[in-house]
Amino acid sequence: MSNPYVPLLVLMGVAAVLALGGVGASWIIGPRRYNRAKLEAYECGIDPTPHAVGGGRFPIKYYLVAMTFIIFDIEVVFMYPWAVAFGQLGLFGVVSMLTFLTLITVPFVYEWRRGGFEWD
Amino acid sequence: MTDSTFPWLTAMVVLPVVGALAVWALPAGVRRHARHVGLAVSLLVLALGVGALLQFDTGAAATHQLADLVPWIPAFGVSWALAVDGVGLSLVLLSVVLVPLVLLAAWREHPDDAAGRPGPGTATAEAATVTSATTAPVVDGTRIRTYVALVLLLEAFMVAIFAARDVFLFYVLFEAMLIPVYFMIGMFGGLQRRYAAVKFLLFSLAGGLVMLVGVIALYLQGPGGEQGFLVDTLVGAEMSTWTERLIFLSFFLAFAIKAPMWPVHTWLPDAAEQAPAGTSALLVGVLDKVGTFGMLTLCLPLFPEASRWAAPVIIVLAVVSVLYGALLAIGQADLMRLIAYTSVSHFGFIVLGIFAFSSVSIQGASFYMVNHGLSTGALFLLAGFLVARRGSQRIADFGGLQKVVPVLAGTFLVAGLSALSLPGLSTFVSEFLVLVGTFTRHPAAAIVATTGVVLAALYVLLTYQRVFTGPTRPELVATRDLSTREKWVVGPLLAAMLVLGFYPAPALDLFREPAGQSLEDVGVQDSQPTVSTVSPAETGDHDGSDQ
């Protein structure tokens, strides 16, 4: 098996079959006795909040987290190859990565100071 | 006279610029003295002009003298090159003479100036503008310093352009002088001043930009280098026939717009109608000469072949201009428009003279330029006085003024007669020379153009009759006659016309040799040498022809 990714495909196939099969099996086996209340969204028995239907709103802070995550995730992506090749890059690599980290830290500090990580 | 290395021409350019800046920067308290400063400066320039005239060697009028040559933009091959031959000098003098008169003419037309309101935009100022605009295009008092500064700036440009010996410099000035005129019309003109100003600017700029292409192309045809734009460098440049013709056309179009020739004259009546009288006098009297001056000093020497090629068409256009201008002048109801149309006719004569290619006609055309400046300047200024008194430009609003204001009527008549080239006035000499010179080469054109003289008599005399004769209209009874100041304004002009009419020889001396030189440049021989006033021996040593 020369290509290391082929086994992955096999596993994915098995996993997919399992995932589909499980739901399918319960669909076949399970009883079906619906009524209106069962199909309503769950809100402790009172009528569902209308705005939740079709994509509700949620606090803006989540966007902020997502954006911050994207930036830092990219940073991490850069650090992996650097870490693996650490021995070959020499001092130049160390200094470059430290510079890079410094530059990444600056906005991090900025966001921190400006309350980007406060959850209120 | 004095140190011969004194840069007369440059001084005559720099002085008004400095004066304009000084006037513009006058502190708030003394702004009403702007006209004093302006007049003083313009008189100083006039003095310099006289000095330059004395310094000028009339014996070698075809040579460009009093030269100043400094590199300006070597990267483009542009130099600050000023020098004048006879024609240029005469036009420079015409400019520096007219400017103080124009300033003087505007002296009292801002009665509220003494209030000296520094803050612009108060309600009364607006009211004043509106009323003055409805009655007459007079100079608003609070903006006197702007007006004076603009006039001085314009003077600098005028002097420089008639002396420019660098094509690029000529072009730059050609365009730059539009700006002060534009503001003069737009800020101080009549009700339709915006329209007129924009029309003027767009026409001139369009022509100028076409010329710009020609300028660039011409440079590339020439030898180039750091003085590649000098006229002397460019004369005789090798170029293919059609290149030459196209470049010629680009230049000619710009000049034809400037010296309003039919059919690109339409901006002039509007501009003249709306501009204040002084501005019109400068605009038509001097500024538009840049067009004919350019034809004479740039087109002919730079594009001899193309000039010969285009001459028949141009002559036809010129004749059409003569007749068209005269005919329309007859039908005008507005005094200023009328004068403007007469100018269209006169410019037709000048162009005709230039492109008839005889030394006599060219000499006549050169002289015509000066004379037309004097007579039209006087007419506009006088018409301005009239309009200021009546508050209207409509000819129909006048009548019978002769009895009330005899001096005004008399001077107007003289100026008008000069416009129809009555013998004894200087215009007669020039017009006669033009027609004679033209006749030698294009008899038909000359004959047709001569009818323009008859038409001229019609429009001048009709106008005089409608304005000054007949029963005096009741509302005009109290009209003032010319004041001393106003007499001082028109007096010099009339005097000059008379003097040059009876004794044109000194002026003609200035033009004779340049005319011969032009003819030689364009490569045409006089068809009837006997008529020539040029001695053949003097034509060989022009500095620009022997490249």
């Binding site: 090749a85 070959q88 890059l89 020499g90 001092l91 130049f92 690599g93 530059l103 600056v106 906005p107 500090v109 900025y110 921190w112 100071r113 400006r114 | 590199p71 300006w72 933009i73 070597p74 990267a75 483009f76 612009p120 935009g121 108060t122 309600a123 100022a125 607006e126 503008t129 509106v130 702007t146 072009y171 730059v172 000035l173 050609f174 365009e175 730059a176 539009l178 700006i179 534009y182 503001f183 737009g186 800020m187 001043r193 915006r194 100003a197 924009v198 600017l201 767009l202 700029l205 369009a206 930009l209 076409v210 710009l212 292409v213 660039i216 192309a217 440079y219 590339l220």
Partner: protein, 524 residues
């Protein structure tokens, strides 16, 4: 496989590092400095860094003149004559532009929102307004943009080009959305700019990929070598270079790719509009110049006709559409489109004078643009009821009579307009003359003719504004509709610099022209 650490000539990067470093420090200032101290510190930082960049450019110029330039970072950045000129011009014009950005008005109606992140009309915004906050982040953002712009024309490979493009664009997208007044307009302009800008940069990137596929390298020098040898892959190359040019032409607002310009110019805070109109164009044309003159000259027969067409259409559309505009900022936007066309005329000349003429034009245009928008930022509407100064008066009718009330300011604006129109004795004329003569020299006389026709038509709308300012009576009683707001004076300094520069470049352009023709030599 062994890795050899590259040797970096840091000195040659000094201008870029100074500016970007100041941006980084600026972020820290915003993080740590007390609120009251932020603005002064930012102004000091900005001025010092840009002045330092100018000095660095001047110092580098000696070496570059001697040896023609250096390749830094393995050819990623090329420091040669045009690079230094453009960096200097960018730093200079950027400095002037940032003076306007930095200014504050007496009426506390600044150009920038108290808190750009706040929802307009929300309590939070009201609170920020009452506390007198301003978005001081504009300074570091502008510095980052400037840093990107300084890299842009120096880029020596397609990757650097792309990165620089993004570094300069992203801050501008944000800056566009920070206007204090008409927030929604501003934000929408920001979004439009962002979407279209990202779209264009995607084109550039895909083009870069194709060119990389053709040449097997992203270095300009290698590509140029590969381009000169005909091969089967030529379609790849042509498609790639066209896509790259599309991305760049977008940045300069050339015509098929111009649709963002008027909206963004109108929506952005006016100081930012001036800043970006001037400096972005300089940087983007710098990049185009290098690409056209160094990388793709062998493709002249394939690309030039397209560029000619773009130049013609740009000039004509910019001019014609500007004529019908009634908003000053939109009009200036279309005028800037037309100017992009004029500059393109110089670019396609393909002569060495083409390079220097473009550089000169950009300098003249940049100074006048910054000055013009600075003036626009000062002319404000007055609230009819309270008499308070509110938003900028950008409708042309509101400018009527300005020349009578504020003759000096209106005079300066008229000067800038005349410079745009290319009236002699202004920098604009010298620039136009330079590019047109370069075009004629490059056997493109017809293009110069089109350019001349377009500039003749363009005069119309510039003149119309002058007519309004000087020849029309102001509407209403004085100060009731339109006024000029008083400021700390930085804007006036910028306007003054613009006026002086415009006149000097018009009357005595010789030293600059001489210098530029010396500098207009690219590293191979």
């Amino acid at each position: 496989m062994s890795f050899v650490a590259p040797e970096v000539q840091w000195a040659a990067l000094a201008p870029i590092i100074l500016v970007l470093g100041a941006g980084v420090v600026g972020v820290l200032v915003d993080a740590f400095a007390p609120r009251a101290a932020r603005r002064p510190v930012h102004i000091g930082l900005t001025v010092v860094s840009l002045a330092g960049a100018l000095v660095a450019v001047a110092l580098l110029w000696r070496d570059v003149r001697a040896d023609g330039g250096v390749e830094v970072l393995g050819g990623s950045v090329l420091v040669d004559g045009p690079t230094l000129v453009l960096q200097g011009v960018i730093a200079l014009v950027g400095l002037v532009g940032l003076l306007v950005v930095a200014d504050r008005t007496d009426s506390h109606e600044d150009a920038f929102a108290p808190s750009a992140a706040a929802v307009p009309g929300s309590d939070y915004e009201e609170l920020a307004r009452r506390k007198g906050l301003t978005t001081t982040e504009v300074f570091p953002l502008a510095l980052f943009a400037l840093g990107g712009m300084m890299i842009f024309p120096a880029a020596g490979n397609l990757l650097t080009l792309f990165i620089a493009l993004e570094v300069l664009s992203l801050p501008l997208y944000l800056l566009t959305g920070t206007a204090r007044r008409r927030r929604l307009l501003s934000q929408e302009a920001s979004m439009k700019y962002f979407l279209l800008g990202a779209f264009a940069s995607a084109f550039l990137l895909f083009g870069a990929a194709l060119v990389y596929g053709f040449a097997g390298s992203v270095r300009y020098a290698d590509i140029a070598r590969a381009v000169s040898v005909p091969s089967d892959l030529d379609p790849l190359l042509v498609a790639g270079s066209v896509l790259i040019l599309v991305g760049l032409l977008f940045k300069v607002g050339a015509v098929p790719f111009h649709s963002w310009t008027p909206d963004v110019y109108q929506g952005a805070p006016t100081p930012i509009t001036g800043f970006m109109a001037a400096v972005t164009k300089i940087a983007a044309f710098g990049a185009i110049l290098r690409l056209v003159y160094v990388v793709l000259p062998a493709l002249e027969w394939d690309l030039m006709p397209a560029l000619w067409g773009v130049a013609v259409v740009t000039m004509l559309v910019g001019t014609v559409v500007a004529i019908v505009q009634t908003d000053v900022k939109r009009m200036l936007a279309y005028s800037s489109i037309a100017h992009a066309g004029f500059v393109l005329v110089g670019v396609v000349a393909m002569t060495s004078s083409g390079i220097s003429s473009v550089l000169f034009y950009l300098l003249a245009y940049g100074l006048a643009t910054v000055g013009a928008f600075a003036i626009v930022s000062l002319v404000r509407e007055v609230d009819a009821r309270g008499g308070a100064v509110v938003a900028e008066a950008t409708h042309v009718s509101q400018w009527s009579g300005l020349g009578q009330r504020h003759p000096v300011l209106a005079g300066a604006f008229a000067l800038f307009l005349l410079s745009f129109a290319g009236i002699p004795l202004t920098g604009g004329f010298t620039g136009k003359f330079a590019v047109f003569s370069a075009a004629v020299e490059g056997d493109l006389a017809w293009l110069a003719v089109v350019g001349v026709v377009a500039s003749a038509a363009a005069v119309f709308f510039y003149v119309r504004l002058i007519v309004l300012m000087f020849f029309t009576d102001p509407a209403g009683t004085p100060g009731s509709s339109t006024t000029v707001v008083r400021t700390d004076g930085l804007t006036h300094v910028a306007i003054g610099l613009g006026v002086v520069g415009t006149i000097l470049l018009g009357v005595l352009p010789s030293p600059v022209l001489g210098f530029l023709s010396d500098a207009a030599v690219y590293l191979p």
